[in-house]
């Protein structure tokens, strides 16, 4: 049963071939066996999940209308507010935070009758590329327990890869869905900025954050996007239906695109490890075999993306995280000497190193006298990167490149060198700066058997096309069916 995709499982539940309670119990059995090794979850809610599953089963049995994810056990990254359990953002400062409300995506999942089994681990406040910055626990890569699952949605990627759920939500600020999906051999979709409401997503970099699914295959990603996409009046940056209404992403999913034009940036591909280069080249050959045309382009401002990202994201983060001060939210220091110490000590004790580093970076970038040199300049770079994408999409339907320059690296390998860690997101960050959607699709394994991801990007609000392009590949390859031996 745990080999089924979410789509297959929901079909079986609808047809009464399997109950949601059985599926949920199956997931929890596996969690009990495997989770101690993987460490994907910060919290699980077995009783809650089983009662929701039982309710779905009852309604299915009664012939009542049920949602698109009826009875399917899924997981949610722990930076999405949920009134069940805690919402920690994997931070000591929020270890005991209980949200009184549900995030928009949680509401949508539950309205679609999904069964949320738990909240997944992540880099603290989504700041990181390996999930090693979690303040609460360690997650390892299900393909190799000595390696990282990627980040920041490492818990969600590991949970899906290890079959500890049938799909999960992550958030992607600079690659945090696509990169762990690539490292863990699952599909990871970052929708267009504005496609999915951020209401209830604890903010890191507000102008970059976007929620997306991590799934077994592209079809499941389409299914989950169907559930979470669409305008939400509580998020002013969520796109209106007049401008770009979502569609049924499953409807035409299996129709291949003819005359597909794929843009590639030769020097990017050349910048990756050779095994990654080879896998991506092989994937491009598959597309060529399907009638696609490859077009070589340049993205001249891509090289400034990481610098611009670390100014914009940290600037926004420094402000977003100001409320965790021991006065309003979060851990409060035990014995402050004075009023100022309530703030300084609570924050010093509650935040991890990387979060502190980014708060300081962002605070500096916004400070009087530095704003123009850093923040304003980063915004200019951002515009230039947007232009790079616009020009590329004038020539091609999509852009393809690796998700990451390497496969999953060793636990501890890059923790001492933040800059090396930042480079892990070199291929993914630009889409967040420009807002366009991107997907990571498994496209092979390296000699150690570690998964490699192919990244595909399309113009803003063309997720339908993006998913179809991904699906074309999936239907002609079997990389996405490979499972870790755990």
């Amino acid at each position: 049963m745990l080999d089924l995709t979410a789509r297959e499982l929901s079909a079986k539940i609808l047809h009464g071939e399997i109950t949601s309670v059985e599926a949920t119990e199956g997931v929890f059995e596996r969690i009990e066996r495997i989770e101690p090794t993987v460490g994907a979850y910060i919290s699980t809610f077995k009783d809650y999940a089983l009662s929701r599953a039982a309710d779905v089963d009852r309604r299915v049995a009664a012939g009542e209308q049920v949602g698109a994810l009826a009875g399917v056990p899924v997981a949610v990254k722990d930076n999405m507010c949920m009134s069940t359990g805690a919402t920690t953002c994997a931070s000591k400062i929020l270890e005991n935070f209980r949200s009184p409300y549900d995030a928009h995506v949680v509401e949508r999942l539950e309205a679609a009758d999904a069964v949320i089994v738990g909240k997944t681990n992540m880099d603290e406040f989504a700041m990181g590329s390996s999930t090693e910055n979690s303040g609460l626990k360690q997650t390892v890569n299900p393909w190799d327990a000595t390696r990282v699952p990627g980040g920041s949605s490492g818990g969600s990627a590991a949970a899906v890869a290890a079959r500890l759920c049938f799909g999960a939500l992550g958030s992607d600020t600079g690659g945090s869905v696509r990169q762990p999906a690539g490292f863990c051999g699952v599909v990871g979709l970052k929708p267009t900025y504005g496609r999915v409401s951020r209401f209830g997503l604890v903010a890191y970099g507000s102008s970059l954050d976007q929620i997306g699914p991590l799934t077994f295959d592209v079809a499941d990603a389409a299914l989950m996007l169907n559930v979470i996409a669409g305008h939400d009046e509580r998020d002013s940056t969520s796109v209106s239906n007049e401008i770009a209404a979502p569609c049924d992403y499953l409807e035409k999913l299996d129709e291949p695109l003819s005359g597909l034009k794929i843009a590639i940036v030769p020097e990017f591909n050349a910048g990756a490890d050779s095994e990654v280069q080879n896998a991506v080249a092989a994937a491009l050959e598959v597309y060529k075999g399907l009638g696609a045309e490859l077009i070589e382009i340049r993205m001249p401002h891509f090289e400034y993306a990481i610098a611009a990202y670390y100014v914009i994201a940290t600037a926004e983060a420094s402000s977003n995280l100001a409320r965790y001060d021991g006065v309003h939210y979060g851990h409060r220091t035990a014995a402050p000497a004075d009023y100022v110490e309530v703030y300084s000590k609570s924050r010093a004790e509650g935040f991890g190193d990387e979060v502190k580093r980014r708060i300081m970076l962002g605070t500096y970038a916004l400070s009087s006298g530095y704003y123009d040199a850093y923040y304003l300049r980063a915004l200019k770079v951002r515009n230039l990167i947007r232009q790079d994408f616009t020009k590329a999409f004038e020539k091609a339907d999509c852009i393809m490149m690796p998700v990451s320059p390497t496969t999953a690296f060793k636990v501890g390998e890059k923790t001492a060198d933040p800059l090396q860690m930042y480079l892990a997101d070199i291929y993914t960050i630009a889409t967040n700066l420009s807002g366009v959607p991107g997907i990571s699709v498994p496209c092979g394994q390296d000699s150690s058997g570690l998964p490699i991801g192919l990244q595909i990007m399309t113009p803003a609000f063309t997720e339908e096309k993006l998913l179809r392009i991904g699906r074309m590949f999936e239907k002609h390859t079997d990389h996405h069916t490979k499972k870790p031996d755990i």
Binding site: M80, V202, S206, S319, R323, V327, H328, Y329, S367, S368
Partner: protein, 487 residues
């Protein structure tokens, strides 16, 4: 002794609570005096994960106010975060507007004592959210009430164009009238709907050299008296300081004061202006607001005649005294009611007397405005016409007004039913005069004596006739007949 002249220079920052139903960025209803922390939701208390949604009404109210202040309205405006750590600020940043406020470059006319008006420049007006309140009455602990957090707050910044404490006060009262006229704020000072922060310094000319004293900002004033007195106090204090120390303004040297109402003095709060540490940057959770012609025209159509214009018009067109015109225009509905009654044919001066002497009294008792009384402007015009025509006496009009309010009958019906029609019949009145003359020989003697007692005696005889007629005799006719009879 050296020659010294000085000029007070004051600019004002004004914060106005907008009277929208809900808060600036969430759906919580605005409320004053509710139990602490009962008018809050995840958004206005800055819970992790929440996002703001702009209250369109608050934006429109702000634009309307800025239009009334002759400001330019930007076609594109954005929101910014202003960061500072304070317990009453839930997110530790305030959503405000920094470099692209929705309006700039306006002016407001204020009346001067000599009857002229003075133009005070408006630098900008922008919209932001208010913070909560810290409560320090719990001994070792401080409590925070976030009911106010997120209230729409319009900030208006004037040029330093005011040159006396009285001018500052006048501007404050004019602005209060304007926002009330526009219906964008209740502007109740006691509820903190308006808060003022004057920036004061002196331009001193001594021996032909100009010296400027350093600027004092007095924070959070919420009464007109406090505004006037704090400006006057600061001016005196700065002059004393200059005479004593000769200290003048240095760059960035702005001191912040509070106003101690009990001791009627300013109290130093911060010596140096803190470096601009607010780390403003564009609010990524909100989209910029684009103002198109159609929307602007729609808001413009809600503008009304402003209080000072109306007051000037009443004084000029209707020949009212400045004082009377001021009383009538203190409140928009009363002013418009009066205006309608005049246009319905009532004499302006007469209507003014009826409204200010009787109407305001009745309205006050009933706890409403004159316009809210259950009478029409047309009925009031009719009442004024009847007095003018001599059909009823001015003294009877007050009672009729009250009857109109209580019974909702027209003045002519009331007059007819109560038999209050003024008697102009010379024959009938003459008979009464004769009776009074016959009954009061002493007074008649005094009245005809031409001496000091004469005037008083005539008044007495007049009163006797009026009493006999139960107030219905026309005083004009009585007076004419009486003087004829007394020779």
């Amino acid at each position: 002794m050296s020659e010294l002249e000085y000029k007070i220079v004051v600019g004002l920052e004004i914060h106005v609570h907008l009277a929208t139903r809900t808060k600036m960025f969430c759906g919580c209803e605005l409320a004053y005096g509710e139990q602490a922390n009962t008018r809050v939701c995840p958004v206005c208390i800055g819970m992790p994960g929440v996002l703001p949604v702009m209250n369109k009404k608050a934006f429109e109210y702000s634009v309307l106010t800025a239009l009334a202040l002759n400001c330019n309205i930007s076609s594109f405006t954005k929101w910014d975060r202003k960061s500072y750590y304070y317990p009453d600020l839930p997110k530790n940043y305030q959503i405000s507007q920094y470099d692209l406020p929705f309006s700039e470059h306006g002016h407001i006319e204020i009346p001067l004592e000599d009857g002229r008006t003075k133009r005070i420049g408006i630098i900008r007006a922008h919209l932001e959210e208010d913070a909560g309140k810290n409560i320090h009455t719990l001994g070792n602990f401080s409590a925070i009430d976030l009911n106010r957090a997120g209230t729409p707050l319009l900030e208006i910044v004037t040029e330093p164009d005011m040159n006396s404490a009285a001018e500052v006060r006048t501007l404050a009262t004019q602005l209060q009238r304007i926002v009330r006229y526009l219906g964008v704020s209740e502007a109740d000072m006691q509820k903190g709907h308006m808060r003022f922060e004057p920036n004061i310094n002196l331009h001193i000319t001594k021996d032909g050299t100009l010296y400027k004293t350093s600027i004092s900002e007095v924070k959070n004033l919420n009464s007109f008296r406090a505004i006037e007195r704090s400006v006057a106090y600061e001016a005196d204090r700065q002059l004393d300081e200059f005479l004593e120390t000769g200290a003048t303004m240095k760059m960035g040297n702005k001191r912040t004061y509070g106003w101690d109402d009990e001791n009627q003095c300013t109290v130093l709060q911060r010596e140096k202006e803190e470096a601009h540490g607010y780390r403003y940057f564009p609010e990524p959770d909100l989209v910029p607001v684009e103002m198109n012609e159609k929307w602007l025209a729609e808001i413009k159509s809600r503008l009304c005649e402003l209080p000072l214009q109306m007051q000037t018009r009443f004084a000029g067109e209707y020949k009212l005294s400045d004082y009377d015109a001021g009383v009538l225009t203190a409140d928009r509905s009363t002013a418009e009611f009066f205006d309608r009654a005049v246009k319905a044919g009532g004499d302006a001066k007469r209507l003014c007397n009826i409204i200010t002497q009787t109407g305001l009294k009745i309205a006050n008792v009933k706890g409403c405005t004159v316009a809210e009384l259950p009478i029409t402007a047309e009925a009031l015009a009719k009442l004024a016409q009847m007095v003018e025509a001599g059909e009823i006496s001015p003294s009877a009009s007050a009672a009729i007004f009250e009857d109109m309010v209580n019974t909702q009958k027209t003045p002519d019906t009331i007059v007819r039913e109560k038999n209050l029609i003024q008697k102009n019949d010379a024959g009938e009145i003459e008979a009464m005069v004769d009776e009074v003359i016959a009954a009061n020989p002493k007074a008649v003697a005094d009245a005809t004596s031409g001496g000091k007692k004469s005037k008083k005696a005539i008044g007495f005889l007049m009163g006797q006739v009026m009493q006999k007629s139960r107030g219905q005799a026309s005083p004009k006719v009585v007076s004419a007949i009486l003087s004829k009879k007394l020779g």
